[in-house]
């Protein structure tokens, strides 16, 4: 059975849902599952956003909220981090956009295993419920930091050391199962189910990003699962994988001989690729948005693809750069600093190519484009501060300070979220048939972009000063001037403004769904297949009776001689209207 055979299979409508439940709840349709994934992810994301505002209130205006005790603060820090990284970004980018875009951009009717796809969402939902349940158990959620390092994660003295950490580990386990089911689907669909003519190098970069990120996820999440299982055994059955002989709040524990560093190695073997699991789909999607709205082909497509592949590969051999000051053998620092800074090269090439895509383009400053340009700016900034932390000796004074917090928020908080917004504004007409309100969109962009930058830019500097992260209150450390506290207040105010600005977005979504005018079929004049389904939004089975056949890459914008400034992927040269037809531009088969 070849992929062609798969693409040629007749459209069997035997899955077509008949009832409301079949259509929207127990749906097998990748588009519905994608929306389910996205809504769940956005919901927990909102929870995490509220948590971050509460955290910032404590940092900016210490001791004003009675319920925000040191323990609660750490719980919020932990849940904010874990939710944002895993349950929002990973789920939204891969479960949401991955699910929606893969079949549409590749010209298939659905994922190759629709039932598995549905199960993936339901497992994800259960993992989210288990995670949120930890807010309601005795002791509350875990407050061990999103890195959940043992020994403290499972010892009294850390908030949520009992039920909180158990539920966190169980929830992660369920999430990993969900991700594996989804990921197997994405990979096999991309490898085996592409339509006629859709060679690997004709895939839009969005798909490349999702493809490599999924591979990273499938092979990195097992490390987290392993560490979660072993920590769970340490916590409940008294094994000593990660637990050495220690005291806990003055009482001796029964453990003997385990190694906390072993956990950290496992965790970061997952944790670093996780950064790219978030970043690569964002890279892909922003490439497409930039290209479409600049009416220009992506610059250096091949280099972009190779960079994604190389970054993905390298991301497995840099994990210990999170552990320079962990007490591991310091000689590891030489290797990991080198491998880390090597990643800077393909990443920089991606940035150059994004800017060079705009260069000599015809830039339409639509809302998605604004977000995408904002992304280039914040990502350059975050990438640069990454060069500080990757360089082992520079990391020494900066690690565990707010510099780190500022860096990773800039690079994997603000930047991917700007891309997510760019993508939502860009693909909303496809998903809903309506275009989000531009005025509200622009307002949302300006507040979010400038606000987020003014939150995280100064944060680098208090980090350089040596303000430690995960501190409930700074108190009166002698090396910190009063201006640090003033700055913290200002950052908190900026956080509140940015958080409120997200309400504009939510309002925009609901308002548009309800009152927004119907959008054009292909409002951005894009070439890729998803905009060329028989119905917009695409119906069940996506393509009607006949699958599209692809004749060109996804970036034929402003082709010299063509009448329109874009040529959809499924058109042959004969079907294109030419002002001046160039010589052969089409496949020779």
């Amino acid at each position: 059975m070849t992929h062609i055979a798969l693409a040629d299979e007749d459209f069997k409508d035997d899955h077509h849902p008949k009832t409301f439940y079949g259509k929207y709840v127990w749906s097998l349709d990748h588009k519905v599952i994608a929306v389910q994934y996205s809504c769940t992810a956005l919901f927990v994301g909102l929870v995490a956003l509220v948590l971050s505002v509460l955290m910032r209130l404590q940092l900016g205006f210490p001791d004003t909220l009675g319920f925000l005790s040191p323990g609660v603060y750490l719980q919020y820090v932990t849940m904010h981090g874990m939710i944002m990284v895993v349950y929002l970004l990973t789920a939204l980018l891969l479960g949401g956009f991955g699910n929606y875009m893969i079949p549409l951009m590749l010209g298939t009717r659905d994922m190759v295993f629709p039932t598995l796809n549905m199960l993936s969402f339901w497992f994800y939902l259960v993992s989210v419920i288990v995670l949120l349940a930890s807010f309601f158990v005795p002791g509350g959620p875990t407050g061990a930091g999103w890195t959940i390092y043992p020994p403290q994660a499972i010892l009294e003295g850390t908030p949520g050391a009992g039920w909180g950490i158990y539920l966190m580990l169980i929830s992660l386990g369920i999430f990993i199962i969900a991700f594996t089911m989804g990921g197997l689907n994405y990979i096999t669909t991309i490898l085996q189910a592409r339509t006629h003519g859709m060679t690997l190098m004709r895939m839009p970069l969005t798909i490349w990003g999702i493809f490599i990120a999924t591979i990273l996820g499938l092979f990195a999440f097992p490390a987290l699962l392993v560490s979660a299982i072993m920590m769970m055994l340490d916590a409940t059955l008294g094994t000593s994988f990660f637990m050495p002989a220690i005291m806990s709040l003055g009482e001796p524990m029964d453990h003997e001989g385990g190694s906390p560093l072993l956990f950290q190695h496992l965790f970061w073997f997952f944790g670093h690729p996780e950064v790219y699991i978030v970043a690569l789909p964002a890279f892909g999607m922003v490439s497409d948005v930039l290209s479409i709205h600049a009416r220009k082909n992506i610059f250096g497509y091949r280099m972009m693809v190779w960079a994604i592949v190389i970054i993905g590969g390298l991301s497995f051999i840099v994990w210990a750069h999170h552990m320079y000051v962990s007490g591991m053998n310091p000689y590891f620092g030489f290797f990991f600093a080198t491998s880390t800074l090597i990643i800077a090269v393909p990443t920089a090439i991606k940035v150059y190519n994004w800017v060079l895509t705009l260069w000599r383009g015809n830039i339409q400053l639509t809302v998605p484009m604004l977000f995408a340009i904002g992304f280039i700016f914040t990502f350059t900034h975050g990438g640069m501060s990454g060069l500080f932390l990757g360089n082992v000796i520079v990391d020494l004074p900066l690690s565990d300070t707010f510099f780190v917090v500022a860096h990773f928020h800039m690079v994997m908080g603000v930047s991917p979220i700007l891309v997510l917004y760019a993508s939502i504004y860009h693909w909303f007409p496809l998903i809903s048939g309506k275009q989000l309100h531009t005025g509200m969109g622009k307002l949302h962009f300006w507040v979010t972009f400038i606000g987020a930058y003014s939150i995280f830019l100064p944060m680098h500097y208090i980090g350089i000063m040596g303000v430690p992260r995960r501190y409930y209150a700074l108190g009166d450390a002698s090396y910190l001037p009063q201006s640090v506290h003033t700055l913290n207040e200002n950052i908190t105010i900026a956080v509140i403004i940015v958080a409120l600005a997200q309400l504009i977005f939510l309002f925009n979504v609901f308002w548009t769904l309800r009152y927004g005018p119907k959008s054009e079929r292909n409002p951005w004049k894009a070439t890729s297949l998803e905009w060329h389904t028989p119905n917009v939004p695409p119906g069940h089975g996506n393509w009607g009776d006949k699958l599209p056949v692809v004749h060109r890459w996804a970036y034929d914008y402003s082709v010299p001689g063509a009448k329109e400034d874009y040529i959809p992927q499924h058109l042959t040269d004969d079907e294109v209207e030419w002002d001046q037809r160039p010589e052969k531009r089409e496949d020779s088969e």
């Binding site: 070849t2 190098m201 091949r302």
Partner: protein, 223 residues
């Protein structure tokens, strides 16, 4: 290097004949199974790495080496290995019988594969009970912890395979044609072989002497 070719073409140029059509001879479910087995391999490999690191700590007491240690004599484990091998053979015969059109024999061998796999699990539990009776509890020593961890996780993966196999029986019972379930049967057989090989590796790994662990650790640079 077709893979390399396919990611070095210049996609904005017309594709030469043949380039656009990429054929994959692997059926989709089998491809998915292969990826899954890759993931499971990584999963076990990571635990093995931690095992080797942990084995070099002072408090680690290997389960084999001295005469009084439980796996200096591995007789029990060899019996289990033999049972799992039979299960794997049963599955393979089932696949071949189907190809010969012997549906009844296939069903019989499939049942044998399932039964032997369950027997293997029961025998593994017996090994656990044997270890416990000797006082080798889960948390007494990291070597014990790893033994239970590895065998337990292996058993969970086998149980997962059994669920898939039960689904095959269920579909056959519901009258889904044998052709349509064939890929599932074949997948189960591949998975059985995989778990057998995985068990051999774990078996080897868990019953070495401290010297061998020290050697492996030194070779891998994990000492």
């Amino acid at each position: 290097m077709r893979w390399l070719d396919s990611i070095t073409v210049k996609p904005w140029l017309p594709q030469p004949a043949g380039m656009a059509v990429e054929t994959h001879h692997t059926p989709v479910p089998i491809l998915a199974l292969r990826v899954l087995m890759g993931i499971i391999t990584v999963f076990f490999l990571l635990i093995m790495v931690t095992f080797i690191v942990r084995s070099q700590f002072d408090d680690f007491r290997a389960l084999a080496g001295e005469p009084w240690q439980p796996f200096t004599d591995t007789g029990r484990l060899w019996i289990n290995t033999f049972v799992l091998l039979l299960a794997s053979i049963g599955m393979e015969v089932a696949v071949r019988q189907w190809q010969n059109g012997q549906t009844r024999l296939m069903l019989l061998m499939l049942s044998a594969g399932a039964f032997l796999a369950i027997s293997f699990l029961v025998l593994q539990v017996a090994v656990w009970r044997y270890l416990l009776s000797l006082g080798y509890g889960l948390s007494e020593n990291p070597a014990n912890s790893y033994f239970y961890l590895f065998t337990g996780l292996h058993a969970i993966h086998l149980l997962g395979g059994l669920v898939a196999l039960v689904r095959v029986f269920f579909r056959l019972y519901r009258g889904v044609s044998a052709e349509r379930v064939f890929l599932a049967v074949k997948g189960c057989a591949i998975y059985w072989h995989y778990l057998f090989i995985l068990w051999l590796v774990l078996f080897f790994f868990l019953t070495r002497t401290p010297e061998t662990y020290a050697f492996i650790a030194a070779v891998c640079g994990l000492g």
